[in-house]
Symmetry: C2
Subunit: 343 residues, 2 copies
DNA sequence: CGGCAGGGGGTAACCGGTTACCATCACTCT
DNA sequence: AGAGTGATGGTAACCGGTTACCCCCTGCCG
């Protein structure tokens, strides 16, 4: 079909080695020769076959980013950051959606398809403690999420506990005492949901308060829809709340929507806060108080760790163990939804 | 490093052909032989090298989806749909972001990197009329967007003109007469911005009205931020509006945020409508009237056209010309932001 | 019992690059 | 002048699959 390196070589009357030297701009090529080759390339419209190159190089220059769902703004923003960080290192990112389903996450690790990429950045949701060994496949993997999987794999985490504690402290300082928790986590999973809940509870405890279990609004997914549904159930149960903490921003936004439908004013009647600082949080009505993890930092670090691991793997035999998890910075962002006084 | 097919063959005491027959479950393999091969595969932990397979097959099983920005909810949702449609056909999707920049879009078409995938679904923003020929590279391409690029390439479009007209008619029917237009398009580009504007103007004309140029709020990007900024400028200019039509939902949501900041009530003082029906539109306060294009249909059709084109390309020589553009269904979704009477 | 059909499986070429190894060649150095 | 040196570029093996082509063997038919 299209021209190959040998065609170019024949046309320029040189060897394939020389053509290869030119396209990879290897230094020792005489200018005149280079010209001839470039001319031949232009005439034939030659374009390199990357699959062939990848085969001989033994690498593809691609890494996989596995996230639960692209439609969730947090992950779309994360993907954007990771793509940027990867590009800076010459990698192309292949995005896979796991739906947060454990089996999909495991499949991805075991899958033959993954051999199309040089490494994997996995944002695990479904994996459970005990699944750790599945990660130790010798294939370069970096986890985005708490290192609760007892796996000897590199981790990049956000300060879930500290961030959630900061939010709760802020709400308590504003005088809120009956704080509803929107969202839940699978028992046994030690993911972001568990950790944020823990941070939240720690703050209450530190303030000498106890969390009323009736103030928990479980949500299956971390979506607007689920946040709204959970909040509806909570309010229907008749409990009184003066604040709601969504385990992430979309849950909080879904909750706000329901408060609005029920005629409750935010923040006057009920303060609301979330976690993630997705872009929508700044533009919602009212704008949403939340925790902003340094996403760019997370992405950069994850890609950097993965690149390192890939390099090592291709070097000697046994890759070293992942070091301690890297914890990204965060900041509490107070906005209208929890402003001290009604506006 | 890892085991190859030849290793498996040696281990099972068969030829590579037989191993290949087994892994590709070719019918004529004696059960006993198959067992031996499978056992060898298990023992060696063999995993096929996809790069090698791709090289001999001359295809990669991947297609590229090029969109402006993953952070824009519309495109995140579209990407999700495309990935689903592609998976149903055995393709993996590689997402590239163009930022809506013309040069990036052109680079993508010319790039050698694209040779890593079998085809391209491109959502062009920056390409101009006249750029058509650049698309005719013999490489399978399907365009998401109006066929204004005079290119002989397959197109899948949404009913931008009709959808926008429907929105405008709805606002007019609700008695709105000074309808601001939030968003703009590059002169000369005939993309979604231009077409939606056209549909909007058609409705006004049909109603015997003229659009006051002062009611246009240009926005550089189609983002929340840009929508807010544009609306701020519009309101600052002192013009009176009783409705705002955002050329897409995020522009409209950004606009709503500013109306709120200025103490204007939606829909009582100003009705608002958008285009795209992103998920956030259902949960905003108030919920947003918009046009819902059938995204799933668009994705399915685009992937299907591309798959067809890929199949043809590998068959005979010259691929046929793209047929007439496929126009996806749409529906006007009326919500609170333009409800007839204040709630 | 020879011949033939077709299932089962081996051999080796091929996909299109990279690169180890080697051969020239032009100079410079002693 | 002979040797050493580095630039230049050719040859062919190799990456790890797929597959065209061929051979062997078994079962069945005449």
């Amino acid at each position: 079909m299209s021209a190959t390196m040998r065609d170019v070589a024949r046309r320029a009357d040189v060897s394939v080695k020389t053509v290869s030297n030119v396209v990879n701009d290897f230094p020792h090529v005489r200018p005149a020769t280079r010209e001839r080759v470039l001319a031949a390339i232009a005439e034939l419209g030659y374009q390199m076959n990357f699959t062939a190159r990848n085969l001989s190089l033994g690498r593809t220059g691609m890494i996989t980013l596995a996230i639960p769902k692209l439609r969730l703004p947090y992950f779309a923003e994360l993907a954007d950051e990771v793509m940027g960080a990867a590009e800076a290192r010459g990698y192309t990112v292949l995005i896979e959606q796991t739906g947060g389903v454990r089996q999909r996450e495991i499949d991805l690790l075991a899958s033959e398809r993954r051999r199309m990429t040089d490494g994997l950045v996995l944002s695990p949701i479904g994996l459970r403690a005990g699944d750790g060994p599945r990660l130790e496949t010798g294939y370069p993997v970096v986890l985005l999420g708490e290192r609760s999987l007892d796996a000897r794999v590199d981790h990049v985490v956000m300060a879930n506990v500290a961030g959630a504690r900061a939010v709760a402290e802020h709400l308590l300082a504003a005088g809120r005492r009956r704080i509803g928790l929107v969202g839940s986590y699978e028992a046994g999973s030690e993911g972001a949901g568990y950790l944020r809940t823990r941070g939240f509870l720690e703050a209450l405890t530190a303030a000498g308060l106890e969390h009323d279990p009736a103030l928990t609004a479980p949500a299956e997914d971390w979506t607007l829809e689920a946040g709204a549904a959970a909040t509806r159930r909570l309010l229907d149960s008749g409990v009184q709340v003066d604040a709601l903490f969504g385990l992430n921003d979309v849950l909080a936004l879904g909750a706000m929507r329901v408060l609005f439908e029920r005629g409750l004013r935010v923040p006057d009647d009920v303060a609301v806060a979330g976690f993630d600082d997705i872009e929508e949080a700044r533009f919602s009505r009212p704008s949403l108080t939340t925790v902003r993890p340094d996403r760019a930092q997370i992405a950069r670090h994850a890609v950097s760790l993965l690149a390192e691991r890939i390099a090592v793997g291709s070097g000697d035999g046994v890759p070293p163990v992942g070091g301690p998890a890297f914890v990204a910075d965060y900041a509490l962002v107070v906005r209208e939804s929890s402003a001290p006084a009604g506006r």
